[in-house]
Amino acid sequence: MAVLNEEQEMLRDMAREWTVNESPVTEFRKVRASGEPEAFNRDAYATMAQMGWAGVIIPEEHGGSDFGFLSAGLVVEELGKTLTASPLVMNTVAASAIVLGGSDEQKAKWLPKLASGEAIATLAVDEGPNHDPAEIATAVSDGKISGTKAFVHEAHGADLFVVAAKDGLYLVEKGDGVSLTTRKLTDQRSHADVTFDGAAADKLAKGGDSLLDDVLDRARVLVSAEMLGMAQQVFDDTLDYLKQRVQFNQVLASFQALQHRMADLFADLAQMRSAVEAGLQAVDGGFGVARAATIAKAEANRVMHKMANEGIQLHGGIGMTDEYDVGFYLKRARVLEASFGSSSWLKDRFARLSGY
């Protein structure tokens, strides 16, 4: 754990207390059982926003606390531990696009609402099943946007879409010219193909040529923070299980073959945490962001992938049952691994950034 200041420690402790008491995995089960396509609890999100979590990266003048991405990551990590279903991550990423690229009017119009939870925003970039921001067909003419975005996270609850078009990022409100086709994925969360058919689009004109990359890097580090919480929880749950399950008249934790696998996972988790925290800190510091975010998501993908698989295997047969939580982490993990950069995409980007 990075060395935190007092505000950050308070924020983390508050998030931990709330998720453990008010939003354990049983809450996610309720959301799943409800079958609502937006797949989150509106009351819970309102409470989160009241506690200031939706505005952590939004400037104070627009209703946020401006604590930065490391702070946002602390909250998201705790939410990841209990698989809390909410649009918080995507809302934060979309808000960052407005912070970086919005005009004064755009900021004044949207940021206070996104900070208070009154409105929810999300990011729509990819047009196929694989992350590929270089291939965008969506285009804008005369202020009208047309194109289809694939597998948009938290699309059902969103009032506002930050949409990547050929010539930059645009704000598009839900309503006329915006239609959703639900895509149910393994994580049972909100995903949809979103078709824009001549919807009114308002360009984020500031932020320069790198705006899309900068926003995607913020998505990468924040999604990595969610994965960090998930990986930590799978590790902790698995360790607890090994300590109580008895076979051959001894607890599984006493078998050396299992001890060494847990030691390996512990080391992997240490690397993942270092990389994710460094990615969040790089965004706050504004230096070496592309590289740090690439390392963060690549390590998050690698370790989360392994942790989810090992978590199931080490739980044995009961790990395969719906009654146990560990399978939920696996099914969310793969969705996040494929979003905003798969491992092979990230390695290619790392090599390009390194000049080879």
Binding site: S254, Q256, Q259, F266, Q271, M272, S274, K347, G355, Y356
Partner: protein
């Protein structure tokens, strides 16, 4: 977060910085600029040039090679802040710390904690002056990972012990003046029968034979003890306390194997840059072999997250005033990744990366081959990776002992 220094402290520190700069100007021979410490390693004889001797003596006289050790035993008696200033100013001037080796890294700190007054007075000052080389008498042919199984026996003969047995993997044994050893004084108890004692390497009955490694070098020795007389005053601590003292010393060793050195130096040259010199590239300067390119990126990402982990462990330890629990993974991760890097370097260079000797290979290529081979030892010595896994599982994760 930065702490605000009291104005008085800051003035004192600036005065000390000036003192160090003046000392360097007066004593550091210009011809040594950029050199590293020949004595600190365990892999070479002790031939010194006159300039090296002069520099070692100057630093040793001040105790600045061991800046935080007590002044009464020849250390610098300085604060950590002052020690850091010495580090910074030496680095700025391109000067190395000429005081090093196992005496400084492992034995000295342990003796300061467990030795009696006479032992500290006798042994610590020569370490601070860089006048004596210590070696480690720990492993035996049948006591590697199971170190407590050691059989070298010290028989009580009244005023002295009579030591018989064999040690192995004695780093730098052929150049050492003295040996700190763990030996058996009681055959009836595996752990409580072990004692920690100091043996002069020139005592009759001590014989050292270098072991040739797969890398072609001989940094380790076998050391044989045949009726070696060791005076009773060379026992450190109590009889039977050797396992406790010996383990404490190993903590110092592990810290040095994994955490030493600056991150920038550890980072090394980008493998991608090296690969571009040996491998064809495409139109954008990217490596044409996409599989190799992916492998290199995959490695470098993990290498980066390891370096970030080493930094985090340091920051956490500093903030908490104790050892961070992730320190336990550094040795295991760092050694494995270094080995992987060596293997990748060979894959990148092809047969040009497997040269043993000859003009057809550059110095860097040959060095990398020897480092690749010798590097295999790093996951074995200092507590093998398997032993590290046991320690993590038992001590950090609280998994029960399998025995």
């Amino acid at each position: 977060m930065a702490t605000q220094l009291e104005p008085q402290t800051r003035t004192d520190e600036e005065a000390f910085r000036t003192e160090v700069q003046q000392f360097l100007a007066d004593n550091f021979p210009a011809e040594l600029k950029g050199q590293s410490n020949a004595l600190a390693g365990v892999d070479g004889p002790t031939d010194e040039t006159p300039a090296q001797t002069k520099w070692r003596e100057a630093v040793g006289a001040r105790g600045w090679g061991t800046p935080t050790w007590p002044k009464e035993y020849g250390g610098g008696g300085l604060s950590k802040a002052q020690a850091k200033i010495i580090d910074q100013e030496f680095a700025k001037a391109g000067a190395y710390n000429p005081i090093g080796g196992m005496g400084v890294m492992m034995f000295g700190p342990t003796l300061l904690e467990y030795g009696n007054e006479a032992q500290k007075k006798e042994h610590i000052p020569p370490i601070c002056r860089g006048e004596v080389r210590w070696c480690q008498g720990y492993s035996e042919p049948n006591a590697g990972s199971d170190l407590a199984n050691l059989q070298t026996f010290a028989e009580d003969k009244g005023d002295h012990y009579l030591v018989n047995g064999q040690k192995t993997w004695t780093s730098g044994g052929q150049w050492a003046d003295k040996c700190f050893a763990i030996v058996r004084t009681d055959k009836s108890d595996k752990h409580k029968g072990i004692s920690f004692m100091l043996i002069d390497m020139d005592t009759p009955g001590v014989e050292v034979r270098p072991i040739t490694m797969i890398s072609g070098t001989s940094p380790f020795c076998e050391t044989f003890f045949t009726d070696v007389k060791v005076p009773k005053e060379n026992l450190v601590g109590e009889e039977g306390q050797g396992w406790t003292i010996g383990k404490r010393l190993l903590q110092h060793e592990r810290t040095n194997i994994s955490g030493g050195g600056s991150l920038a130096r550890l980072m090394g040259q980008s493998l991608g840059d090296i690969a571009k010199k040996y491998q064809p590239t495409g139109a954008d300067g990217e490596l044409a072999d996409a599989v190799l390119r992916d492998k290199i990126a995959d490695f470098e990402i993990r290498w980066n997250s390891f370096l970030l982990t080493a930094r985090r462990a340091m920051e956490e330890s500093k903030a908490a005033g104790g050892v961070s629990e992730i320190s336990s993974v550094l040795k295991k991760l760092g050694t494995k990744l270094s080995q992987e890097r060596s293997e990748l370097l060979i894959e990148i260079r092809g047969l040009q990366g497997l040269g043993w000797e000859g003009d057809g290979f550059s110095g860097g290529e040959l060095e990398a081959v020897r480092a690749w081979l010798f590097g295999k030892a790093t996951t074995i010595y200092g507590g093998s990776t398997e032993i590290q896994n046991n320690i993590i599982a038992k001590r950090v994760l609280g998994m029960l002992d399998h025995q």
